[in-house]
Subunit: 180 residues, 2 copies
């Protein structure tokens, strides 16, 4: 049971999902490919934290729909209340900034424009997620209280939005400094 395993349990605690769905939904939260996820699901199923039933579909290929078990929910609940590890950020841009003096100012600007584009597209995505979460909240008839299943999701999306806005602000600031 590593962090990714708990991440998968987190997603399953909100709603039952297939392995394929999980690879899609986890993307904005954790970098992991399907080749990492399928074996973990098999292992968690063997440990009794999740169970699946085969869903036969006519419009799409059949799938395994995973549901979190009581044991899985207990395991997750215990993990959530433990202190979180420090975040790990690996950003090439840090090194490129460090040796920026080697670069033509024009190339440095391009570096920052590229990063801005990335942050903007991320920001757009998270803003869409905010709407999706609000729809879900209404569907579930939930309030804005901390106990609601959609509250933490809302907080998470807000966090990512703030992160991206801050990154954009940095890029704008750095570009101004490079103009001089």
């Amino acid at each position: 049971m590593n962090t990714l395993s708990y991440g998968l349990l987190s997603l399953l605690s909100f709603a039952p999902l297939s392995g394929y769905d999980l690879t899609q939904k986890i993307k904005p939260l954790w970098q992991a490919g399907h080749s990492q996820i399928y074996p973990l699901l098999a292992s968690m199923e063997q440990q009794g934290y999740i169970s699946y039933k085969l869903i036969e579909q006519t419009d799409k290929p059949d799938k395994k729909e995973y549901t979190i078990t009581e044991a899985g929910l207990a395991q997750l609940r215990q993990w959530v209340e433990m202190p979180a590890e420090h975040p790990v950020l690996r950003d090439e841009l840090h090194f490129k900034l460090y040796s920026l003096w080697l670069s033509e100012p024009q190339k440095a600007k391009e570096l920052l424009y590229q990063r801005m584009e990335f942050c903007q597209s991320e920001l757009d995505r998270y803003n869409e997620m905010l709407g999706g979460n609000e729809t879900l909240r209404e569907e579930r008839g939930e309030s804005h209280e901390p106990k609601a299943t959609t509250f933490g999701r809302y907080m998470l999306i807000r966090k990512r939005i703030m992160d991206m806005e801050s990154s954009l602000q940095f890029c704008k600031y750095a570009l101004e400094e490079l103009e001089i």
Copy 2:
């Protein structure tokens, strides 16, 4: 030559350093232990990107001081101007927020207080680095222009400060929401 290798070259392009120094200096920019760094230095030395001379010390154990070569500088210059990979952030807190509804609001607050403490200590460290960089700038008689070796370093530290301030702001906001 992976990202970490270029990171080491970046540090060496600013000043000659020992393997031990590099493990210390790289910490705020990239998570990597000495066991990863020493073999990479040996490999880069063999490829001719860096060279070292043995420094005999009386107050401390002897060390190898690595210097970037012309070939290494050319390699680095070429890398710096290439577009940067997207940043990778792995933060357990994301998953813990996602399943926050499973947690007691008091435990959720503790989670955020812990994160705030971490961000504050990081912020303090970067603010100190800002002063150290300014001292170095004066020592080198450099201006605040983009061509100066201390300019990119300044930008990098400013970026990290903005990141930490944004994270702190999120924690404060989330704590307010949890109070209600």
